[in-house]
């Protein structure tokens, strides 16, 4: 059975692995694509990833040009993609078959924005994993939990809770404690540690 999702993943990982070698752009997968690896089963339609230009000499616009040259397709049009990249540090585009959307977050360093603060932390601790049979860089379990607690939707809490329940014995607890303070999510993290086992209860206790 053909899978547009897996085909799109192979396309983007092949592209980004090559860019790491040639242009020193660093990447890792984040978000829903990691839920099956780290938490409970659920599906997602898009592929979230984060990239860092910190060690690279190329600009966001150069990167968008490379996407075009490699046959990735604009979600709306490439000019809008450039504008959005400047405004919200995210590039949205489609795979070569114009079916799967990539939400490409650009890591921002030195920001007061709590949603953006997680980017550099997660990039620094990225790990190698095999996702849908493809070896690639992904967010660590700890940073997966922290980002889910920062975003704070019902589904995010469910994903974080699932990861905690599955892997609590092997997580880096001092790191989680320290960074939850930095990200202002101590309340959420303390609740996670309390032994709670249901997403609805998690929400009720935070309300």
């Amino acid at each position: 059975m053909q899978s547009h999702y897996k085909d799109a993943l192979i396309q983007i990982i092949t592209f980004l692995e090559r860019l790491e070698e040639t242009h020193k752009i660093k990447y890792h997968l984040v978000g829903g694509i990691l839920v099956n690896l780290y938490s409970d089963f659920r599906t997602t339609r898009d592929i979230d990833l984060a990239i860092s230009f910190k060690e690279s000499s190329i600009s966001t616009n150069d990167y968008i040009e490379l996407l075009k040259q490699n046959n990735f397709k604009a979600y709306q049009d490439w000019e809008s993609a450039k504008t959005l990249a400047k405004e919200i540090s995210m590039i949205q585009f489609l795979d070569t078959s114009e079916t799967i959307r990539f939400d490409n977050h650009i890591v921002v360093y030195s920001t007061p924005n709590k949603y953006k603060k997680i980017g550099p932390l997660s990039m620094k601790r990225r790990v190698r994993a095999t996702v849908f049979g493809v070896e690639c860089w992904v967010s660590s379990k700890e940073d997966f939990i922290l980002s889910k607690l920062v975003y704070g939707g019902w589904q995010d809490y469910r994903d974080a809770l699932g990861c905690w329940m599955r892997f609590k014995e092997e997580l880096d607890i001092p790191y989680l404690k320290e960074k939850s303070k930095l990200l202002n999510i101590e309340k959420e993290y303390t609740l996670l540690e309390s032994g709670i086992e249901d997403p609805d209860e998690f929400f009720e206790r935070l309300a």
Binding site: D40, T43, F132, L161, G162, A207
Partner: protein
Amino acid sequence: MSPKTERTFRKKVRDFKGHIQMMEKTPLKDVENMFLEIHENALQDHITTERKRNPQKSRKEIIIEMYQLHDKLKGKRNSHAKSL
């Protein structure tokens, strides 16, 4: 059903702890194959249905609208806490 009874019912039906235990015992490859199958079937169903309903729409328009709906629903799921 009172809100408290509904919450208890949701908790039992969801059995989140049981799901997590099952995930621990299920090979990742099986979970990922299930994901890919569900994803592809849902995608093809969506495109087929939308083409029947709106034959004038291009495939790309259908895909973009699908993501717009996905984003909208994601926002709704994330505001679920307010309803509890």
